[in-house]
Assembly symmetry: C2
Homo-oligomer: 331 residues x 2
């Protein structure tokens, strides 16, 4: 089953501009497994870093159009190599919708400085929480300077994925304007920049006011997320957005925040791998004969679920665990 793959060679080719090799490396990351791990390890040790920008917002907020325009401004602004990772956390496989959106970005198809890819977490240990930062490091090791990470939909997972970047851009629309919603979804904490896209629709002013009021109430930070009005479809305000993204990057570099965030991110990855590994151990536990016989005991009212769990985990001998001291009460 295992194929011999020249990982170092793939990185070399990718760095020399081979899109195919970069795609292969990212496929390996996406799939996880032995090869994915080897690829991730090489990228990790390369110490290369790209400026990563997460772009999140509800479906229909206009993220893809915005990303499309951002690419153009970044390229015009001197970015040599830019990549887009379009991530769908809800789907184990990349669905049609996200690929449909990608078509809109085909204006860049002939630009050799632009690399666009959809991404899902097929069998990756730790899922997208690990796969996305790995993919960013792989892109960086292949010479990509800026990675835009676009997520589909706003939910906890999406926000997490978008936050696994240096700069998080939250895209809202004028009608959106419900500050409670933004608070609920954790967007306020995650956002470095707010974009009100389709700002020519009614309600833009109210949305801005709501967002600013929420920001007034949130704790002091060195960087107060700017609220930008953009009409991506007409390419209005996207230049300012790109400048603001660069400004945020410089701010983080100068304050040491960038280093702190990247270190934090690695720690999160460590935890995600740890949890995933433990989950696999639990799965193995379920497959164990001892589990079946204890489960049977529980079903027949012999052992209650706690007692069975303790027996299976070998906790019974210790007797001094926090959650179950011994004062048993029997009727």
């Amino acid at each position: 089953m295992t194929q011999l793959v020249d990982v170092a060679g793939l990185f070399e080719e990718a760095s020399s501009g081979s899109r195919r090799s970069l795609a292969k490396l990212l496929s390996a990351i996406e799939k996880g497994g032995v090869l994915g791990r080897a690829v991730a390890g090489v990228a990790y040790r390369s110490l290369a870093e790209a400026h990563s920008v997460g772009i999140t917002g509800a479906p229909g907020a206009g993220k893809s159009t915005l990303v499309d325009r951002l690419i153009a401004h970044a390229r015009a602004g001197g970015v040599g190599q830019i990549a887009v990772l379009a991530v769908d956390p809800s789907s184990p496989f990349t669905g049609g919708a996200i690929l449909g959106d990608r078509v809109r970005m085909q204006g860049h198809a002939l630009d050799e400085g632009v690399f666009i890819r959809s991404m899902a977490s097929r069998g990756h240990l730790g899922g997208l929480a690990v796969a996305v930062p790995e993919a960013i490091r792989v892109a960086a090791a292949a010479g990509i300077e800026v990675v835009l990470v676009e997520t589909v939909g706003v939910g906890q997972v999406e926000v997490e994925v978008a936050s696994a970047t240096d700069t998080t851009v939250v895209v809202v629309n004028p009608r959106w304007g419900d500050s409670v919603q933004a608070n609920k979804a954790g967007l306020l904490e995650a956002a470095d920049i707010f974009v009100i896209n389709k700002a020519d629709l009614p309600g833009a002013r109210e949305t801005r006011r709501d967002l600013e009021q929420m920001l007034d109430l949130s704790p002091d930070r060195q960087w107060r997320p700017p609220v930008l009005e953009v009409i991506a479809a007409k390419d209005e305000g996207v230049d300012v957005l790109w400048e603001t993204i660069e400004k945020h990057q410089s701010h983080m570099e100068s304050t040491g925040e960038l280093e702190r965030r990247r270190a934090q991110r690695l720690q999160r990855e460590f935890k995600a791998v740890l949890v995933a590994k433990i989950e696999r151990q639990v799965d193995a536990l379920y497959a164990d004969d001892r589990f079946s016989s204890l489960a049977e005991s529980v079903e027949q009212h012999g052992l209650d679920p706690y007692e069975a769990a303790e027996l299976l985990l070998g906790e019974v001998t210790s007797g001094d665990t926090l959650e179950d001291p011994t004062p048993r009460v029997d009727p």
Copy 2:
């Protein structure tokens, strides 16, 4: 901190009709901890069972009104003792909305055969997935014959909680009618009975047709979920619903399905306790000095997240785990 509580005494009082003692027992379950576990253990060993009926559906579907009417029909139909557990999986504490709904049920406030309680999972090991079945068993051990479990909102958690019962009633409204939605939310698999509430609104026929079509497509089962049209606010069709619930119960008893479901439920509880315990172990791992020093190593690009996780879990010596064979590739 630990108080001496006479658990057996509380059960005795609850069985003799003391609502206060039953409330105390359920509070203990809700809070988890040593006392909760003792209470759960007594109920588990009592072997008492109540007919539990889960009622789920989107907010505004009219679940509370339906439950209110169901209580009346159940009591009129000869149920001596009935309890309602109103569960809010999204909130660690019982919020205002659910208590507001409870007020509508105050018509039963003077009926000694009716017990109504809101429930949340504060610190319970395993959360509501464990707390709700425990609460049902506690109610049963206190002589309650029927427990209605009403959940707030339709989501995976809500469906799980509602399914932790003998009979699951899914409440929809005429406008709802989107079969895709029902499929997505896992309602089709979970439902034993569909109720189209507010059936006097336009669209009831289409909703019924959609549901029946979905049921036609779903795999053959011994019990095909009936689709009932109800107007709870006018008490129309609720009598048929109560009869259908009783019919479902008899069907399950005679086919052995009831026993199978209850055994399955206990196995799920066992797993939930197991996972919760393991999660606590992971938390303890995080608090460990070895974790901090490994995390530092990861942040400084000394060890990649996989290596660090393996070291922490002591996996390195084995070298033959499924997920990371040794063919390391270095650049």
